[in-house]
């Protein structure tokens, strides 16, 4: 699973996650969801630091964040 996952159908394309991501890893997708919004998506997973700022700014609880941790 990717570090950041989206409940795409809940996304309203507001862009707050994208604007506040410190690593610029997010963007709006070219396609529309069934609500008619361009959903946010992770475009640069390599730069993502799993800080969860995107999830904490999201007004619609669309985002979950995971990280790989050493055992």
């Amino acid at each position: 699973m990717a570090k950041v996952s989206f409940l795409e159908e809940r996304c309203k394309g507001c862009g707050l996650c994208i604007a506040f991501c410190p690593k610029n890893c997010l963007a709006l997708a070219g396609h529309l969801n069934t609500q008619g919004y361009h959903p946010a998506t992770l475009v640069d997973e390599g730069s993502c630091i799993s800080c969860a700022i995107c999830a904490r700014m999201c007004p619609d609880v669309v985002i979950e964040v995971e990280k790989e941790a050493r055992r």
Binding site: C14, G15, F20, C58, P59, V61, E64, V65, E66, E68
Partner: protein, 251 residues
């Protein structure tokens, strides 16, 4: 060896369903913060939320704990009744500025005067959102709304109402803070204030209120990020952020 660890997931104190809020509306962040704090305090089974009339009207459909939908502005009176009958519960209201600072001013002020051990979460977005963006007592000077098409003027509509400043003069009010949600640091501070307000109540200290400066992109006619900037640049100068009152026990 590495393993996958969850850094952020939906709190169990929110029902898993879509919300009706407009894109970028800060009501969604405010709902989520209340739910996160209740989950972290282990109070899901021990909370009664009291909603309001306005864009927060469906809170009892979104929060995964007990909830009541009161009539417009009366949430603090309903919460008073619930708390007096069930004093061990966390009882909080969730009210907009039209609900709290216009039609419900009496109930809000006197709950604080009596020092009721309830918490008010007060969403100040400087207008009536749900009904199409009319002027509220909190509307900024010069702000254009559907009922102040030339901008708010003092000779017609007076001046902005600073609820935290008023309420903090009352002995019954124990914790009073104003926070905002326009960037991640502010969201973290807002969450801490909600936690302190709930702690103030659960420790039996007194009345608590958190005012949240909140963006209404739709009625402000702004894109969501622009609305965040508007809160930062134009609301915080009229409504300064900070803790106005903090009781000893929750510092």
């Amino acid at each position: 060896m590495t393993e996958t660890v969850k850094v952020y997931s939906r709190p169990k104190t929110l029902i898993d369903r879509p919300w009706h809020f407009c894109p970028g509306c800060h009501h969604g962040i405010a709902h989520r913060l209340c739910a996160e704090v209740i989950e972290e305090m282990g109070l899901q089974e021990n909370t009664v939320g009291v909603g309001s009339v306005g864009c927060g009207v469906f809170s009892y459909e979104y929060f995964n704990f007990d909830g009541i939908g009161p009539s417009h502005g009366r949430a603090p009176a309903v919460a008073t009744g619930v708390k007096r009958v069930l004093p061990d519960r966390l009882v909080f209201t969730y009210q907009g500025d039209g609900d709290l600072a216009a039609i419900g001013t009496t109930e809000m002020v006197h709950a604080a005067v009596r020092g009721e051990k309830i918490t008010i979460v007060f969403i100040n977005n400087t207008l009536y959102g749900m009904t199409g963006g009319q002027l509220a007592p909190t509307t900024l000077m010069g702000q254009v709304t559907t009922t102040s098409p030339y901008g708010r003027e003092a000779k017609q509509a007076g001046y902005p109402m600073r609820v935290c400043e008023m309420i903090s003069t009352l002995e019954g009010a124990a914790y009073v803070a104003r926070v905002a949600l326009f960037n991640p640091a502010q969201v973290a501070k807002a969450k801490k204030s909600i936690r302190r307000a709930f702690e103030t109540q659960m420790q039996g200290i007194g009345f608590s209120m958190v005012e949240i400066l909140s963006a209404c992109p739709t009625n402000w006619g702004m894109a969501p990020l622009e609305a965040c900037k508007h809160v930062e640049n134009n609301l915080t100068s009229v409504y300064p952020l900070g803790e106005f009152k903090v009781p000893e026990g929750v510092k």
